[in-house]
Symmetry: C2
């Protein structure tokens, strides 16, 4: 049992409740095979495994939470993934969950979750990575996504590091668990790092450019950015209304499937019900217009993935996008800039000197796009969405790069979103699949994507691809 | 001076701070002509007039706020526009504003504003018209729109009645100041009623179907629903992300122009800089596919407007929409239903028995639209947006009905949004212009609209049309 006072992450600049958790009865945890799990093994469990053990009474939520808090306590002075962590509240939630009868236990029963600090959690402050909000009181209610997870039995452990308003690529002190000298990526830095480092099995992040997929690739985690609109962003800090998208980090594809069911991610006819058959699987390989930015790590992973897919018996087809898609990048910039102007106007008026120059620039740019040009960008992108759905609909899934290469050295810059932005503005589901490595032995992910609302299908594809990478 | 304890509206089910305002020095208020204004005259001032007097030292914010609080105190037991009103905080803000040097006074200096109770105001609770949120604590920060208004010198007086989550047409106890036996319309019931009844010169509302325009028409106020995306909805309760739109109620077109400048509503080349010249003005009269729903009040107002425009020398052209626009209503329903499912899922899980059946229906409907069908609806509507911009761009403005008729009798139903929903889903600016009357002598408004991002132009048109109606 760890000392109560040390549970607040050293990195935290925010007050955390003093911890005096009730000492749970020492109940041994058994895995499915009946083997006793040690405390040190608990942080490796997936959400599904842990909640299964807790639902069946083989593990108490209190012991599980304490083991994760202990792990965080050992690790987070180096990783610095958390900005706020309420150990006492977490233990209280764990106790309440342990007291529930088995039939009342939800699909995320007892699973601690980290929430990016632009998302409201009842009773916790929201700092948005900005000094502007450093004195705000606690949120009176949960953001939509937090409320859903909590109803499913999740324990909301605390708030994770974000870059300023999830809108800059300036890193903070959060480090990549795979190499402490490197960025975990941004803007969902803390959520990705916390999952990669075993602090929690699930964390919530957001993506407006590449803020889910990029940290997923850099930290070697699964990162799902669902179809835009599938998850309500009520209670989430705004950057660009038509690009902001909530998503999940996990270490395990099954956990993403579980989460998708819990949050009711759509299951239209584009979604295949059964596992992919490698031998009859048609895969599009799409280097994307950003391919010249790919470094040796991504080029190597790309070749390896191609080979693995073919060896597995899949039909692999290289595709290119029609040239008009090249214009999508500029349209996206126009849309994001216009929406960011609306989003950041109040903070600009209130405290522009406290905003990062890249945010101020939206307001101060001389290249102020007219309303008509922005409307045209909306309409053109919208046309490309249906065009993309047709293209992608010809295949079981599309594979495309997640990032140019391994995580950059240094914490100042959270890396390039070049390979991600197209999928964000097209509103399509994107899944970072980890498992391959670059020249330094650090993770390189690849993105599985497809038509809008084919989220379940790309999860099935991600399972297939993830298995191939894992076995390689 | 009114008794401090009576300032909390009788209608309020929520705690309000006890009022013990500092007694301001009695400073006489002069209008521009030097005439002394009585307390009874102050609630009739527009925001521009009042802030002008306050900026120039002819009126203190404290006296102005007290006069409005007194007016509310006399009126709101009948109108019931407010759910939360913090008189003490308002007086503190007024005092702080009175202490500002003239050069520090903003364009809304000392102007009390009402905020629809789905919009966060720092230090005030947000109840969303729902028992689900009756015990939530105060908001830790202002919604984007509130922050902008506050920075301009506005005093945030309190929260106004909304229908449940601004998503039902079930009325509450809020009454129409023009006839207490009738609904003020919804969902922005309290904001429209408060402005119509002189409680405040400006109030903030939202529209997802017809929730700005309809109450504007029923209460005889100007109601502006700007181009979608012009105002950030951060901090605003969610119903349908691609239809939810913030807007303003005023009694005066100048106040809408002032507000549009303050909140940086776009001014593209579609916006004309100079006043409309009636003699060279080209006006499209569009009965819309909903015309069969128009009752005698709207039919009479329509003929009157047509005559007035022609008498003023305008070129008036009856137009019809291409038939494909008829499908827009069904596409909008599909979009709103899908987005409402995402928005209300957490509350449905948490407390479905506390949700109105019309909200529960989104979750429980057997006619569950597939993700693909919703995507198709998005894409089709998007095409119609550019088509509409072209059609409307041929005219200085388009005139179309706001509502079927005068406000219905009774408080149970907040009225039909049939004439409003098209403009909401098309993302175009819509302005209710009051001034005409129906068979019972109650207000009938008409809507001025145009292409997306032509907000300033429709405000100029609204000035012209409003003047015609006023002089009639």
């Amino acid at each position: 049992m760890l000392a109560s006072e040390t549970l607040v992450p050293v990195s935290s600049g925010f007050p955390a409740s003093p911890l005096s958790p009730p000492r749970p009865q020492p109940t041994p945890a058994y895995d499915e095979g009946g083997k006793v799990l040690t405390d040190a093994e608990l942080p490796s469990l997936s959400a599904g495994e842990a909640s299964g053990l807790m639902r069946s009474g083989h593990l108490t939520a209190q012991r599980y939470v304490l083991s994760l808090l202990s792990h965080i306590n050992q690790r987070d002075s180096r990783i610095q993934a958390w900005v706020f962590l309420d150990a006492k509240a977490a233990m209280n939630q764990a106790k309440a969950l342990d007291d529930l009868a088995p039939e009342q236990r939800g699909p995320l029963h007892g699973v601690p979750v980290g929430i990016k600090d632009i998302v409201a959690v009842k009773g916790m402050p929201t700092r948005y990575g900005s000094a502007i909000h450093e004195n705000d009181g606690p949120a009176p209610a949960d953001a939509a996504i937090v409320s859903i997870l909590r109803s499913a039995g999740a324990i909301i452990l605390g708030k994770t590091v974000t870059t300023e308003f999830a809108a800059t690529s300036r890193g903070g002190s959060c480090r990549n668990p795979r190499d402490l000298s490197r960025t975990p990526g941004g803007s969902s830095s803390g959520s990705a790092a916390a999952v990669a480092d075993g602090h929690v099995p699930v964390a919530v992040g957001t993506q407006t450019g590449g803020s889910m997929i990029r940290p997923g690739s850099f930290t070697g985690t699964f990162a799902l950015k669902p179809t835009w609109g599938a998850l309500s962003t009520e209670g989430v800090g705004r950057f660009s209304i038509s690009c902001d998208t909530l998503g999940f980090y996990t270490r395990n594809i099954d956990d993403l499937s579980l989460l998708s069911e819990i949050v009711h991610i759509s299951s239209g006819s584009r979604n295949i019900p059964s596992p992919l058959m490698p031998s009859s699987c048609r895969v599009a390989l799409l280097k994307s217009p950003m391919w010249p930015k790919a470094g040796p790590g991504t080029r190597g992973a790309w070749e390896q993935a191609n080979t693995l897919l073919q060896q597995a018996g899949a039909t692999v087809i290289d595709i290119e996008l029609p040239k008009v898609f090249n214009r999508c990048y500029a349209w996206r910039e126009m849309i994001v800039a216009a929406e960011a102007r609306a989003a950041f106007l109040p903070r600009y008026i209130q405290a522009k000197e406290q905003l990062h120059p890249s945010i101020r620039k939206y307001m101060e740019s001389k290249e102020h796009t007219s309303g008509e040009a922005v409307c045209e960008a909306y309409d053109c992108v919208s046309q490309l969405r249906s065009q993309w759905d047709k293209i992608a609909g010809e295949f079981d899934f599309v594979l495309t790069p997640s990032v140019p290469d391994e995580a950059p050295v240094g914490l100042e810059w959270t890396g390039s979103s070049a390979f991600c932005t197209l999928w964000t503005v097209l509103h399509v589901p994107a899944l970072n699949v980890p498992g391959l490595e670059g020249n330094s032995g650090l993770p390189i992910g690849l993105t599985v994507t497809g038509p809008r609302s084919a989220d379940r299908r790309i999860l099935e594809a991600g399972r297939f691809v993830g298995k191939l990478f894992e076995d390689a």
